[in-house]
C-alpha cells in the first residue's frame, strides 16, 4: 500500500507549507506594526491646558509703560518674588479645573517647582513651589514657563538673587 509513489504529494505539500510559513515569518519579523494608541491624546490635552494656564498667569494686566508694579508685573512674577506658592496654587488650580459650564469642574492635580541659576557658581537651584496632591504613578505631563523676576526689595525667603533674572517654572500635571 505504501510505496515510493506515496511521497509525491506529501512532500510537495510539506515543501509548500514550509515555504509559506518561512516567508510569513520573515515578513512579520521585518515590519513593525505601531497600533494607534489613544492614551497620548490625554497627554496632548493636559499639556496644552497646562501651558495655557501658565501663560494666562504670566500675562500682566498692562504694559511696562504703567508704573504701578501691581499692574505691569504678571501674577506669576509677583508670586515668585514674594514666595506666594499657595496663592499661585489656588489660582492655577482654579484655572485648569474651570470648564465652560460654570457649575462643572475638572479634577486635575499638579506639583510646581522653580529652577533658578546661581550666578556666582553657575549651578541650578530648585525650589518647591506648590503641591496640590501627592504624586504617585499617574500618567503625568510636564509643562514649563519662563518667568522674568527681579526680587529687589521684596520678601524673598528662598533666596533668589536680587537681580534681573529669568527662572523656569515647571509644573507636573496629572488627572485624578
Amino acid at each position: 500500500m505504501v510505496n515510493n509513489i506515496g511521497q509525491l504529494y506529501t512532500i510537495e505539500g510539506v515543501a509548500a507549507g514550509v515555504l509559506m510559513v518561512f516567508t510569513a515569518y520573515l515578513v512579520i519579523n521585518s515590519t513593525t506594526v505601531i497600533t494607534p494608541q489613544d492614551i497620548h491624546i490625554i497627554d496632548l490635552q493636559l499639556e496644552q491646558l497646562g501651558n495655557d494656564a501658565l501663560s494666562v498667569l504670566d500675562t500682566p494686566n498692562s504694559s511696562v509703560l504703567n508704573p504701578d508694579p501691581a499692574e505691569n508685573k504678571s501674577y506669576l512674577q509677583r508670586q515668585i518674588e514674594n514666595d506666594g506658592g499657595n496663592a499661585f496654587g489656588q489660582n492655577f488650580s482654579f484655572l485648569i479645573n474651570s470648564k465652560v459650564n460654570p457649575y462643572e469642574s475638572d479634577n486635575l492635580n499638579f506639583n510646581a517647582t522653580i529652577y533658578y541659576r546661581d550666578s556666582a557658581t553657575g549651578q541650578l537651584r530648585m525650589e518647591e513651589f506648590y503641591q496640590s496632591a501627592n504624586y504617585y504613578r499617574e500618567n503625568a505631563v510636564k509643562v514649563k514657563r519662563w518667568v522674568y523676576v527681579n526680587p529687589t526689595g521684596q520678601n524673598n525667603p528662598f533666596g533668589l538673587e536680587e537681580r534681573d533674572q529669568v527662572v523656569l517654572v515647571e509644573v507636573l500635571l496629572w488627572r485624578g
Partner: protein, 348 residues
Amino acid sequence: MPGIKKGYHESGQLSLDFIVGFTIFMIAFIFVITMMSGLFIGLFSRTVDYDAVAYRTAVILVEDPGEPRAYVGTSSWHLLDLSYQLNRDSIKRLGLSLERQSPGHLQSQKVEKFFTYAPLPGCSGNDVFCYPDDYRNKLLFGDYPYSFNISYRILGKTDQYSVGEIPPPKHGYIRRLVKVKEPGASMNVDLTNLGNEYIHVSMNFHELYNLTNPLYRIDPLNEKTTIYLRNFLIPNTAMVKTPFVIIFPTSGGEPTEVMAPANSPTIRVYSEPGVPCSSYSPGCIMSDQSYIEIEEGFFKRVGLDEYSYIKINLTFNQSIGGFSDYVFDYTTATIPPPSTAVIEVNVW
C-alpha cells in the same frame, strides 16, 4: 486528475499521499493567513481621530488671527459685512486671535462676531454666519461633515457663548484658556478752571499704535474711547456746542474740522451715565458724572488712520478749561485689564 497514476483505474478516490500532502499545505496556508491578518488592519481603518480635529480647530481659533487679517489696505474679517456674498466668500479662516504674533490673546469683537449665526436659509443676505456650513468650511475643514460644539465663557461670569448641538457621550474634546482684550480706553480730564471756555483733547494715533504688544494697545480706530470730565467748580456749566474734531494732515497743511454727526457712530456726550445730550442749545448741563464717548468706528468714518493726529474740541459756557491740551496717551489713558476666558471645542 491528480492522485491517479497513469494506468490505474479511475476509482474516484484520492490517494493517501495526496490527502496528506494537501492537508499539510492547507494547514500551513491557514496558519499563514491568520498571521498575515494583523498586518493589514491599518488599511481598513474607518475611525476618525476626533480629538485631533478638535485640537486643530482650537489652535485655529485661539492662535490664528483669521483670514483676512488686519493689514495695510485690508480689513480684519470681523469688520466685513456678511450680507454681501463676496465678503462672506473672502473669509477663509475664522481665527479669534489679536495678531499673528500674539497667540492666546483674543479680540473680543472677533469673539462676538464669531458667535453670531443663524441656520440656513435665514442667514444668507444677513450679517450672520451660516450654521453649520460656514463653520465647517472656514474652521473645521476636511471632507467629512463633522458635528461640533464650540463654547466660550469669561471666568468670573456665568453667561456663555455657544455654537452647535449637545455632544454625544463619545466625542473629541479640547479645552483652552485664553486672555481676551477688553475694548475701550478711557481717560480722566481734570478741568483746571483757568479761563478758557473750551478744552482740547489731543490724540497722536501714531504714538498710540506704536506699542508692539497688541494686548495693551490703545486702539481708538476700532474700539470705543471714553473721556471722563471731572472738577466742574461752577454749577450749571453746560456744553454749548457739538464736539468737533480738528484733523491735522500728516503731510502738513491747514487742519480741517469735522463736527460730530447726529447718527452713530459719532461722539456722544452724556450728562449722566446713560443720559445722552439731545441738544446743545441752550446747552447740556455737565457735572462730575458726565463723560464723552467716542463710539467704535467714528474715527474711521471721518477718514483717520494709524498715523493721524487730532484734537477734540469741547466747548462750554463757563471758563473751565486750561490753556494746554489734555494729551491722550499711555500715561494719561488706561485700558481695562484683559479678562481670562475658557473655550471648549467638541467634535464628533
